[in-house]
């Protein structure tokens, strides 16, 4: 059976959830083969998890050049691997890095590309949500193999343990791929919260939260639920919360099991980033706020009263 290449997203020595989703998807299409692209020693900590989710092969490309530059070296190595292996499909995460590698790979291979895919059939037909999730399209690559980026939280990963064959990939990166050099990586404290786009539960705050200090209540509700924290553009623009947590048209798109909107009116710009969430809950003072049109459960009231009470009630039930 032909290989389905899954480009592994990893950070801090662990495999990101979207990779487990892609391996689960790859198993339905062919023989899943993970591709680790990273600095020396990057794969060792990842292989067991990749095998647990069914990666029959782990192609390991390790070289300082893969870590020291933006995506061009990764795309170059991957293009060479695709030429050698002749996979039936290539899957990457629909993340900034996944999309950027895919963009370069598509040009190198002169191959079509589909991004933000939520489903992929065995015949290569993909499902994508466009226009802020208001339209669903069915599409396919018409030139080359299915090269797709898969949107995080599109499916539930399931384990299917195998003992993976580790296959080293020779890395020789041309100078022409080493033009964008990473001179510094600064880690910012993230705490224990899950990553926004991967989280099963997201609690977001909007202008109604009122201040940066008041965002503590949004964080607390997220923490008792084990969720991630998001923010509307209005909240970010007001300086209440950092931009990387912005959900919406010019921020992140999330599709969690549960989305709780606190003090968010639900402008189209915000809905663009969250309306494919499974269950939506909203708290807002304004009974006419458009967020209620999409909320499965809405509370008309002051979030500063409702949220603390909800936090207390959840703690009581634990």
């Amino acid at each position: 059976m032909a290989e389905v290449l899954v480009v592994v997203e990893h950070a801090g020595g662990s495999v990101k959830k979207v990779t487990l989703e892609m391996l689960t998807l790859a198993r339905q299409l062919g023989s899943p083969a993970a591709v680790v692209l990273g600095g020396p020693g990057a794969a060792a900590a990842l292989t067991d998890t990749l095998g647990e989710y069914g990666a029959a092969t782990v192609h390991v490309a390790e070289h300082a050049d893969l870590d020291g530059y933006l995506v061009a070296p990764k795309a170059a190595v991957l293009a060479e691997l695709v030429r050698q292996v002749g996979p039936m499909a290539v899957l990457l995460g629909s993340t900034q890095e996944g999309k950027e590698i895919a963009g370069r790979l598509a040009v190198k291979l002169d191959n079509g590309l589909l991004t933000d895919v939520t489903e992929l059939d065995a015949d290569g037909t993909a499902t994508q949500a466009v226009f802020a999730g208001s339209v669903t399209v069915r599409s396919r690559v018409t030139r080359g193999l299915p090269l797709v980026t898969v949107r995080p939280n599109s499916l539930t990963p399931s384990a299917s343990p195998v003992q993976p064959k580790v296959s080293p990939v020779e890395v020789a990166v041309d100078e022409s791929a080493k033009l964008a050099r990473v001179v510094e990586r600064v880690a910012e404290a993230k705490g224990a919260r899950p990553e926004l786009t991967e989280a099963a539960i997201v609690v977001s705050g909007g202008r109604g939260v009122g201040s940066a200090d008041n965002f503590a209540v949004v964080e607390e509700l997220a923490d008792v639920l084990g969720g991630a924290v998001g923010a509307s553009r209005a909240a970010v623009d007001s300086g209440f919360y950092p931009h990387q947590f912005q959900v919406g048209q010019t921020g992140k798109t999330v599709s969690p099991q549960l989305y709780i909107a606190l003090g968010i009116s639900g402008a189209i710009q915000h809905r663009a980033g969250m309306q494919t969430s499974k269950v939506i809950v909203a708290v807002n003072k304004d009974p006419e706020a458009p967020i209620f049109d999409l909320a499965d459960f809405g509370v008309v009231g002051d979030l500063h009263k409702v949220a603390p009470q909800a936090i207390e009630e959840i703690r009581k039930r634990k």
Binding site: E100, G103, G112, L113, T115, V135, V182, R185, Q249, A310
Partner: protein, 259 residues
């Protein structure tokens, strides 16, 4: 430093958008069309670099005839001139084809720096900077929240999931920007008047040496087979807080097995 800013006209993301029923392409006729918001940040950044370092700023846009309005709007912010790639055969081009055409158009200007928005609000594909850089054989610095120009050295700061990175390259390079990079200026009345007289070069596919069958729906590398509007979400239960709103909220969460 001569700068190209890529500008895309898109259907207003604040209004209802749709795909055409006949060929599944973006319906641009019945939409209100505007400059892609993120591109305004790229224009602003170009103008700030020009103010500090001199050089010329050229807007490059590929789009139908009506994109000329957005090009004038872009020029009214301050760029010196524009190149508009317009050809009926381009309709329905995917990202790969678009990058091919834009690469050819950019070559006619031969800039030191190409600035663009990190994504467009219609496609949200987020690959154009990398595709263009790959085609032009130059560096791509993507997702900048800060850009520093020092001679021919370009350095950006970009947000990542783990924190942020500082990345550097030598010109020529493509730099894509997020909306955190600056605050775009509004066109002044003087700017609007001046824009009417600024040169806009129109280029066809023939001018760029690209054959019509390499572009558009037929020349694209992917195809949309069908589309359907998702049924709008229905609002569910709405309660008014009478001192027990938090408890009711948790009761709902429990009924959905979240707590």
């Amino acid at each position: 430093m001569n700068i190209v800013v890529l500008v895309k006209q898109v259907p207003d993301s604040g209004a209802e958008r749709s795909l055409r029923d006949d060929d599944n392409t973006v319906d641009r006729e019945s939409a209100t069309n505007v400059i892609n918001e993120m591109d305004e940040y790229a224009i602003e950044e170009a103008l700030r670099i020009q103010e500090a370092h001199g050089g010329e700023v050229t807007v490059v846009s590929m789009g139908p005839q009506r994109a000329a309005e957005s090009i004038r709007k872009a020029l009214s912010m301050g760029p010196d001139k524009a190149v508009h790639v317009v050809d009926d055969a381009l309709a329905g081009s995917d990202a790969l084809v678009t990058s091919k055409v834009l690469a050819a158009a950019v070559r006619t200007v031969n800039p030191d720096l190409i600035l663009c928005g990190a994504e467009s609000t219609d496609g949200r594909v987020q690959v154009m900077a990398q595709m263009l850089a790959e085609r032009l054989g130059i560096a791509a610095l993507t997702g900048a929240r800060k850009l520093t120009v020092d001679g021919s050295s370009l350095t950006i700061e970009r947000q990542t999931e783990e924190g942020y990175e500082v990345v550097t390259a030598s010109a020529p390079a493509v730099v894509s920007v997020w909306d955190t990079i600056n605050e775009p200026r509004y066109p002044s009345f003087k700017g609007i008047m001046a824009a009417k007289k600024k040169p806009v070069t129109t280029l066809s596919l023939a001018d760029l040496g690209i054959a019509a069958d390499e572009v558009g729906l037929a020349g694209s590398y992917s195809a949309v087979l069908e589309h359907a509007r998702r049924p709008p979400r229905q609002g569910g239960t709405k309660v008014t807080d009478e001192g027990d709103g938090g408890v009711k909220l948790v009761e709902f969460l429990a009924s959905e097995k979240f707590v």
